[in-house]
């Protein structure tokens, strides 16, 4: 078939419009495939149907009373490159301590036992089964994985902070300032990305460590074994054993978010 000049121009023009003619598309396709393979979980990855955590407050408080232990907080800050910001209004926190009364705001009374009153409790993202933050995010930058972990895509987040208004647990932090300016570059862990200003972040149950077969940093570092991490859907898991044998509470259960952080006291 003879192609005249007019037909050639028409076909190549249409082709360019559809993006078929560009070298870039052809070059991008194979590496894209390779990238997808890279993200497939490898054999040693820890998997669960529903990740959850139990905080054994007794064990934790005993240790805190002894030496003011903050090992889990420090470990988390270290592996996730969380900056120490001078202004409490701009703080970035993934796991931290709040007083008993504040942790269980609305669920306590002023005659609580001395062992609890004013004592520090660990708080972190509850990885809710029905997360309001995910419901409101306009870009799906925050999303729930099949294994229950509520994740953040720092590169998609537009910084509207709607998720912060929606989270009933105050678990989310916004980078009000450039966090990299407050990180010690020598102590930065290259295995986890540092963030830019203007995006929201929070605890990710150490998804990056689970993928490598490691327990979350806070769980691993706790010598008292006060943080128990496991599969809530597996009746034989450690979390289920603890929950079966001891009385446990969750923060604000009445809101229907189904938090997956349990506290045994």
């Amino acid at each position: 078939m003879a192609v005249n000049r007019r037909d050639f121009l028409r076909i190549s023009g249409l082709g360019t419009l559809l993006g078929l003619g560009s070298m870039a598309t052809q070059e991008l396709l194979p590496p894209g495939k390779a990238l997808a393979q890279q993200y497939l979980p490898d054999g040693k990855a820890l998997k669960a149907k529903r990740w959850a955590m139990v905080v054994d407050a007794r064990k934790c408080l005993e240790k805190v009373e002894q030496d003011g232990c903050r090992d889990c907080v420090l470990a988390c800050n270290r592996v996730h490159n969380i900056p120490a910001l001078p202004d409490p209004k701009h703080e970035v926190k993934w796991i931290w301590q709040e007083r008993y009364e504040n942790t269980f705001a609305g669920q306590n009374h002023e005659y609580a036992e001395d062992a609890l009153r004013g004592k520090p409790f660990l708080v972190l993202c509850n990885h809710c089964d029905k997360p309001p933050c995910v419901r409101v995010c306009p870009t799906q930058a925050t999303f729930k994985r099949d294994d229950g972990i509520v994740m953040m895509d720092f590169h998609r987040c537009i910084g509207c902070r709607y998720c912060m208004a929606a989270c009933p647990y105050g678990s989310r932090s916004f980078n009000f300032v450039d966090p990299r300016k407050h990180l010690d570059s020598a102590a930065t862990d290259p295995k986890f990305p540092t963030r830019m200003k203007g995006v929201v972040e929070k605890c990710n149950f150490c998804a990056e460590r689970l993928a490598e077969g490691l327990m979350p940093a806070c769980v691993e570092v706790c010598k008292e074994k006060a943080l128990i991490f496991g599969d809530l859907e597996d009746p034989g898991s450690e979390v289920r054993k603890v929950l079966r044998s001891r009385y446990s509470i969750r923060r604000k259960p009445e809101l229907g978010t189904h938090p997956e952080i349990f506290y045994v006291v």
Binding site: K89, V136, P138, A165, P168, F174, N175, V177, G198
Partner: protein, 389 residues
């Protein structure tokens, strides 16, 4: 018609120049915010929305209020509003524009704004807010422009405009309902988690918007040869009277539910706003003077509006319109948005005060809104003067 915007009096150009200067100063503040991050504002981990989102919420109401002139004219053939529908529509345009700008200046990563379209998320109210606001902007530009152009040419508007006008009426209600849903569906924010919030938003919108329109009508009458009509202004005043009463009534319903039930979550934010909260011996009450000013202004406004003599007197009507605008601006802007974050999720208090830079950026958006309003009103008024001549 656009040529009407570039021929004007010295006052017109002077006004525009002053507004551009204001925008310029505000833009410098914004450049600084882009560089340093939102840390330059008074917002915090606990009060994560502030002046910007408060302004956004308030101006969605102003935008929606155009329906208060469009509805009587097009659905009830209320002829007196025929002259001022264009003023309502051309007030809605800059108001929506300001809303969009307030969202953008509030974003941590504004260059990623298109992610909202790239990854459309129907379960997010923010997505629907974007859809309804942009739709409403388009509707008002098209309707306003076409009807004005036809008026100038002395012909009837094309038939296809009518359905758009009818569509714009429920659409106006929708933009403010969706904006209320941004707040009213969040678990754990007791001040916002209330079924009446959308109704409250609409009531405050339908008093704040028309009172601004009254002021604008009076300015137009004073500075140009176009007279919106004394009776039209009086009808607007009656609309403001009823909607302001509804607005205050809805607020008092909230107060009753909270304080009669004595459920702490339903009282805390109101207590903070009007009386302050005590925590560990420290007293927090930064918004008390603001909230009581809002309440006092509401009382003054209602007194002036309910009394026929002061409502008919345009001097006192101006005071009433200003009082309605200021009262709802405080209550719906700072009161509602900041109050929703206090106390925080741990039942402690972090207060919020906007910084100077934040105020500068807010003034920039106000300046842009005022500029667009001035230019659109200039066009509309010039056409009206031309037609009358």
């Amino acid at each position: 018609m656009i040529e009407k915007a570039i021929v004007g009096s010295r006052r017109y150009y002077g006004g525009l120049a002053a507004l551009l200067a204001l925008i310029g100063v505000g833009f410098l503040c914004y450049l600084w915010q882009l560089r340093e991050g939102l840390g330059i504002t008074g917002m915090s981990r606990d009060v994560s929305w502030g002046l910007y989102i408060a302004q956004f919420t308030f101006f969605v109401g102003v935008a929606a209020s155009a329906v208060m002139v469009v509805l009587p004219y097009y659905l009830h053939n209320y002829k007196l509003f025929g002259k001022i529908t264009i003023l309502g529509e051309f007030l809605a345009v800059p108001a929506v524009l300001m809303c969009m700008l307030f969202i953008v200046v509030d974003m941590g990563q504004p260059m990623r704004v298109m992610n909202v379209i790239l990854h459309p998320t129907p379960n997010s109210m923010m997505f629907w807010d974007m859809v309804s606001l942009s739709g409403y902007l388009l509707l008002n530009i098209v309707i306003g422009w076409i009807t004005l152009d036809c008026e100038r040419k002395g012909i009837a508007p094309p038939r296809w405009v009518k359905p758009l006008i009818y569509l714009s009426i429920p659409w106006a209600v929708s933009i403010h309902t969706v904006t209320a849903f941004l707040y009213a569906g969040l678990p754990g924010r007791h001040l916002w988690l209330t079924a009446i919030l959308a109704a409250r938003f609409l009531a405050s919108a339908f008093c704040a918007g028309p009172s601004l329109l009254i002021l604008l009508c009076l300015i137009v009458r004073k500075w140009t040869r176009f007279d919106p009509g004394k009776e039209a202004i009086q009808t607007l005043a009656k609309i403001v009277t009823y909607t302001m009463l509804l607005n205050v009534f809805f607020l008092l319903l909230e107060v009753f539910t909270g304080f009669y039930s004595q459920i702490p979550g339903h009282m805390h934010s109101f207590t903070y706003l009007f009386a302050g909260l005590k925590e560990h011996g420290h007293f927090y009450g930064g918004l008390i003077p603001w909230m009581w000013s809002s309440a006092a202004l509401a009382v003054v406004a209602i007194a002036l509006l309910l009394n026929p003599a002061t409502r008919r007197n345009e001097r006192t009507l101006v005071v009433a319109a200003l009082a309605v605008f200021a009262s709802t601006w405080i209550d719906k802007g700072m009161g509602l948005v900041v109050g929703g974050f206090i106390p925080n999720m741990f039942d402690t208090v972090t207060e919020y005060t906007p910084t100077l830079l934040e105020v500068g950026i807010t003034l920039m958006v106000w300046g842009i809104g005022a500029t667009v309003l001035t230019v659109l009103y200039k066009i509309a008024v010039s056409v009206k003067e031309e037609v009358a001549a």
